[in-house]
Symmetry: C2
Subunit: 280 residues, 2 copies
């Protein structure tokens, strides 16, 4: 890192030259920290994730859950930061040790990733690979009902938990709430997907998956992958401050997920499975 | 895709239930399209990119440039959509055929990616892999000077080109301008990185890299990877509507890139190499 110390907190002080900002003249500002996390599986590097430090163990667990390397809490023997004596480096490595069959499957999984890259041919025109992106789990049928007023209140409830975002404007947030709107968990990260992985990974480490009475609220837009993560975690209601993509809508309809976008100014749009929202 | 036709345009009509929005009562809305693109190298699947259809050839070229599989326009023999008779599928596959040594190196590159995953051990605590994320090219020394008023005008100039964003609020934009603020190229995508890859890939296909007299303006935040892409393309000034991350700032300082954030309301913050901005 050429002498720049690795950051261990979600914020870092930076010097800044302000132009046309008479109200703020200080030469110091804070930026959302972004550092690479090396996720190791059975001691081997599995992925490098650019992330905001904090909740690293939950992030590693949630990432491996989304990648379907880990299916449930029982698969995990240990999730721990590297014990290397140089802590400034060790904090950017998380070792995950799987148990039993999951450990063997992890090795196969690595081989499979390789095979997917190598074997697709133009004859199938991407179909095999593209279908690989989808879940093979059944649609969610959770019968929870959520009051429209609960949905409208979620952005403020999430923002209250997002201390860093307020300071830097640079972080995505994800929050888990129950069907009455009560706060369950939240996380923030420079990466939209990471924030969701941290929240879901934290619940996984507590063996609290699936989450049939839950609402996942995200601060930005909703892409395909966010819906996929909600599906895998069994979260039946997904809401966002901004827009969903077309494929996010398709997948939510297929997954039995109530998908809500543009939650702002007291209103919102429902794109899929509106039956769970009452008092509309 | 279970009967849902693949989308070939950046927008798709969707049905929506509006709650608390008396002003907009129509049951139809448009969403930013998101579909997987299979980038094939010498006929083999190299990566699946979730992207907004449009500028697919530029995206494939820019992506491979960022991955350093392609070093310049001469490396590229052809970049073309798949010719499979089923056009709804073929539009989501781009075949890239490399020439000469680049073709051989591409195969080695695939092997290398595999080796990086397999060989890191906890002894180096991620250092090797993390250093792999950085560029080995020299810092940019381009001597261009840009008036502060040019920077302040960029968000509006970019927004004028972003027809889809206005309609859906769901797309990131990236625009290339010269040092006088004149428009050169732009692209939009659900993925922040994709929008940049499309712009840079388009210039690559026209053999117009590097870009020493250019400013790259992006609609959202600036992460490490965006700075890396600007560096590789030789773009010396990078500006964003929102915040940079800490690692983006570190890398810009190292890369000789002028990094500007929070370009809004007539002002902005400079985080690195402010010497290129005049009239402050």
């Amino acid at each position: 890192m050429n002498g720049t110390p690795l950051t261990l907190t979600p914020l870092r002080k930076v010097t800044v030259v302000r132009v046309g900002r008479t109200a703020q003249t200080g030469p110091e500002d804070v930026a959302a920290a972004e550092e690479p996390l090396d996720v190791r599986l059975q001691g081997q590097s599995f992925a490098i994730i650019m992330r905001t430090p904090g909740d690293d163990r939950a992030l590693a667990a949630g990432f491996l859950y989304s990648e379907r390397v880990v299916r449930n809490a029982d698969d995990i023997g240990a999730v721990e930061h590297c014990r290397h004596p140089d802590q400034s480096k060790a904090h950017h490595v998380v070792n995950v040790f799987l148990r039993g069959n999951a450990a063997e499957e992890a090795v196969r999984h690595l081989d499979q990733r390789r095979r997917v890259v190598a074997n697709s041919s133009c004859g199938v025109c991407g179909r095999t690979s593209i279908e690989d992106l989808r879940s093979d789990i059944p649609p969610l049928t959770a019968g929870l009902r959520v009051d429209a007023a609960v949905i409208s209140a979620l952005p403020d409830a999430l923002r209250e938990r997002q201390a860093t975002f307020e300071e830097t404007g640079g972080l995505h947030g994800a929050g888990l709430f129950d069907s009455s709107g009560a706060f369950v968990a939240s996380a923030e990260d420079v990466g939209r997907h990471n924030a969701v992985d941290k929240v879901i990974g934290g619940m996984l480490l507590q063996d609290r998956l699936p989450l049939p009475d839950s609402i996942l609220m995200v601060s930005g837009r909703v892409s395909f992958e966010i819906v996929q993560k909600a599906w895998l975690a069994g979260v039946p209601v997904l809401a966002a401050v901004s827009a969903p993509t077309s494929l996010a809508i398709d997948l939510a309809r297929e997954a039995g997920i109530t998908l809500i976008g543009f939650v702002r100014n007291g209103g919102f749009n429902i794109y899929a499975h509106e039956v769970r929202i009452v008092g509309v």
